[in-house]
């Protein structure tokens, strides 16, 4: 699979050949594409083969393994997002692109772990984004119709032959600060006002300000050893806003700041004999790690406003291999 950036005319040729594609690019170029077997989301930040870059002219292409020529493309909103796992094939994988801060985004983030059969097949993808210095609206695209949406997710379900299996993995370079405080939210959601810090009820925003805590590293919780990040969005009027929800039945910890993002990613990306079918990484890692102009070996893909790895993730590299 050749997962990399291409000029628009080459992507148009791929579409005309009937290839199954997952695309990422600026609205200016995605809106030029013809009907075909593709899904897309807007984003102008990428990790290319040679370096991280911003481009509103190039499109990042994942040529998907369509090994048995059976796939389906489907739009999702709050009314049907709970069906996503049931819509997948008995053996296959699903790539989904979700618009940020819309109902479908919030519903998926808050309720994904209640979706029936969620873990039967890999469900991965990303949250669409935009030029951070623009007023552009993040969008998703259904290539079957070329329609774009600011409020609907788009997914492609791909069937795999019985002798193949899709495996979703994450690379999280953040470690929990096990010597530091524990944070227990009082309710599920994208905001924390009061919470239990080491068992004592406090205002989280005030605690962060009083203790001069760096909010570039994310909050973390352990899922049987998997460290799942929740990134800080802002502190305002006594409220901590987050890019993913926290859950009251989980305990959170601060994470240890990362010195060198490139080194840590390269150290943590496992060597695999199987080609990476799809991968993406977070805009916050790109910004805080100053990845523009830098290369991460063995990783290419869109730089996204959130990652999907069965659930909404933050500051995490997600990838899929077919074995």
């Amino acid at each position: 699979m050749k997962s990399k950036l291409y000029k628009v005319d080459i992507v148009i040729d791929m579409i005309k050949q009937g290839q199954l594609l997952s695309l990422a690019g600026d609205e200016k170029v995605l809106s030029k594409l013809p009907k075909g077997n593709w899904i897309a989301g807007t984003i102008p930040y990428f990790m290319g083969v040679e370096r991280g870059l911003f481009s509103q002219d190039l499109i990042f292409v994942n040529q998907l393994s369509n090994l048995v020529n059976e796939f389906s493309i489907k739009e999702y909103d709050s009314n049907n997002i709970q069906e996503i796992a049931n819509d997948s094939y008995e053996n296959g994988y699903t790539i989904i692109i979700i618009p940020p801060f819309q109902d479908v985004h919030k519903d998926f983030a808050l309720k994904s772990q209640d979706i029936d059969n969620l873990y039967d097949n890999p469900i991965l993808g990303w949250v669409a984004g935009k030029d951070l210095d623009s007023d552009d609206v993040p969008k998703t695209y259904n290539g079957k119709s070329t329609m774009s949406f600011s409020d609907k997710a788009i997914a492609v379900h791909v069937k795999l032959p019985s002798e193949k299996v899709g495996r979703l993995e994450i690379v999280n370079i953040f470690e929990q600060d096990r010597k530091g405080i524990t944070i227990r939210p009082l309710e599920d959601g994208f905001e924390i006002v009061d919470c239990l810090i080491d068992g004592e009820k406090m205002n989280f925003a005030k605690y962060i300000e009083d203790h001069n805590i760096d909010i570039k590293p994310p909050l973390t919780s352990s899922y049987s050893g998997a460290i799942i990040n929740v990134s800080f969005r802002e502190l305002k009027d006594g409220t901590v806003s987050l890019y993913a929800p926290v859950f009251k039945d989980l305990e959170y910890r601060l994470s240890i700041p990362v010195d060198n993002y490139v080194t840590d990613f390269e150290k943590n990306i496992p060597k695999t004999n199987s080609p990476i079918e799809f991968s993406c990484n977070c805009i916050l890692n790109y910004l805080y790690g100053e990845l523009e102009g830098k290369r991460i070996e063995n990783f290419t893909g869109p730089i996204t406003f959130g990652e999907i790895g069965y659930t909404l993730l933050n500051q995490t590299l997600v990838y899929l291999v077919i074995e």
């Binding site: 890999p122 050893g225 998997a226």
Partner: protein, 75 residues
């Protein structure tokens, strides 16, 4: 696919015991076990059902969960 221990091994129940901490490595198994523990606590799932599902997942990803099976079953 015959490398996954049988469902009647007591270690499967231990894996679902909320008091026990396992440092698993395979991502989908980590997520599935966490979810299963929550579902059992909330009464949404029985331990037997949870073991059935996790066992099937491990059979599907037999190679990828090999290290975790060694951790859980102390082989």
């Amino acid at each position: 696919m015959g490398n996954i221990p049988s469902k009647d091994r007591p270690e499967w129940k231990e894996l679902l015991n909320i008091e026990r901490e396992f440092d698993l490595k395979n991502f989908v198994l980590q997520m599935k076990v966490t979810q299963a523990r929550k579902d059992i606590q909330k009464g949404k799932k029985t331990i037997v059902n949870a073991i059935d599902e996790i066992h099937a997942l491990c059979e599907k990803y037999a190679l990828a969960v090999k290290q975790d099976m060694e951790t859980v079953f102390n082989n």
